[in-house]
């Protein structure tokens, strides 16, 4: 599903990632962890195609991101759900409008958009909040909106950058459960986190990064 070969990413003289080699199978659940500045976010952004590697190759479902043109990157992104650390919600839009954006860019019918939005909001436990605005909701609920938006297109890959960064342990467990449910449906889930709560007792694959290199 995701193949990373000798990838390096430098921002000027600053080395964010160095000689990264990874393979993620379809349906795998992977944690990427490490201290701040280890390169977790950069790695996710490279997989998402938001950045290009300075060296090396990244293949998503056999498609080389180095060679992909813009017109093919946009449809590929619709198959990759990304959950941002700061949620990236539109505060002037309601919960359902925020979630529906991911379907609108696909040119879906309004009836399909309404139906799928309700389904996904039910799945993340926000069925009764569809007309609320993000700022009227708690941090955990806002995170659920971001998750709902990321999974509404049934993505092949779900990338989450510190998805429980500001949430308390109980909500963190709920969010983790939600990711597990999504993963059980066949979506490859990659979570970048430094949360001990998320990694506690996990039997999933954990990749440890430090100073841009894979430690284990």
């Amino acid at each position: 599903m995701i193949q990373i070969f000798h990838v390096a990413k430098r921002f000027g003289s600053n080395i964010a990632l160095d000689d990264i080699n990874l393979k993620f199978q379809k349906g795998e659940f992977v944690f990427i962890t490490g201290p701040s500045g280890a390169g977790k976010t950069t790695l996710l952004r490279l997989v998402f195609g938001a950045e290009r590697p300075t060296e090396g190759q990244i293949l998503i479902n056999g498609i080389n991101l180095n060679r992909i043109n813009k017109s093919r990157l946009d449809p590929l992104r619709r198959k990759i759900g990304f959950i941002f650390q700061d949620f990236k919600l539109l505060l002037r839009k309601t919960v359902s409008q925020n979630v529906a954006i991911a379907l609108e860019v696909n040119g879906e019918r309004p009836s399909v958009i309404r139906k799928k939005t309700r389904q996904v909001l039910r799945a993340v436990g926000l069925a009764n909040k569809e007309h609320a605005y993000p700022l009227q909701l708690s941090g955990g609920e806002q995170q659920r909106i971001a998750i709902a938006r990321a999974i509404i297109n049934d993505p092949l890959i779900l990338l989450a950058d510190e998805p429980t960064g500001n949430l308390d342990p109980e909500i963190t467990r709920e969010i983790l459960l939600l990711f597990r449910t999504i993963n059980l449906k066949g979506t490859t889930v990659v979570i970048a986190t430094h949360s001990k709560e998320l990694l506690k007792d996990t039997d999933q694959r954990v990749i440890l990064l430090n100073k841009g290199r894979i430690i284990s």
């Binding site: 938001a50 813009k70 017109s71 946009d74 449809p75 590929l76 992104r77 619709r78 198959k79 990759i80 990304f82 941002f84 990236k88 539109l90 954006i101 991911a102 609108e104 860019v105 696909n106 040119g107 019918r109 309004p110 938006r149 297109n153």
Partner: protein, 299 residues
Amino acid sequence: MKLRIWIYYFKNAILNILSNRWVHFISIGTISISLLLFGAFILFFVNVNNWMVEWGQSLSMSVYLKDGIEQDEREEIASIIKGLPGAEITAYISKKQAEADLIAALGEQAGLLEGITSNPLPASYEIAFKNVKNDQADPQDIKVLLEQLEGVDEVQYSEQWLERFEDLLYILKLGGLIVAGLFSVAVLFIITNTIKLTIYSRREEIEIFKLVGATDWFVKMPFLIEGAIQGILSGFIALIVLFLVYSLFSLKTVHIFGLPVMDVVFLPYNYVVLLFLFSLLLGLTGSFIAVGRFFRVLS
């Protein structure tokens, strides 16, 4: 492309305009004034041009006869004149009639002529050339031809005026092009900046659209439509105001330099369509520039 996508684009463009209504109101107002001035110039130009064409096609000429000309000589001149293409003798003014006309024209100051014992004014034929194009009859050639005739003293026609107006018209055309160019740049500048403001106010939304896989065109199209709407609305307002001002003053006849009067007409249909298309094009180009710049920054 699917109809619902276009509905989506238009809906978003209208929402953009409504959510930034004051910026758009000022922008559309300013563009309308620019287009109104541009339209007024075209209206003026079209009318002057019409008048020139009409006047050129109904050329008038005065053929002054020598004193003491014989009746048969005069008739021969008249028959030659009638043989010219499109020529019609509108009047024969005898020496006596010319004197009477002058006295009538001078009115109370006719006393000035009292000291003159003999009548110095020549008899003349007044000729009008109707629906004659320049290539069919050159006034200068006709003048030379008639002046060669026995009994003809001098021929005068409105050549000098035509030439002056042709020069004036050329200057107007040139000035008009410069003014139109400046207006276009100003309008483009206004539209580009208005669209940039609306793009800026929606930059977070655009970023999220791109992150969930929206194509560039999907994001750009509502802004392009927004620019087009601005252009169309401004063009429409400018034309309506121009027509209202035209109707209000309704100066159906105008004197220019005391020369023959002309009818004032509104812009012909094709000019209206052209002005409309021009404003649409300006709107689209302005938003295209704004969107292009923004996406270069984004990428």
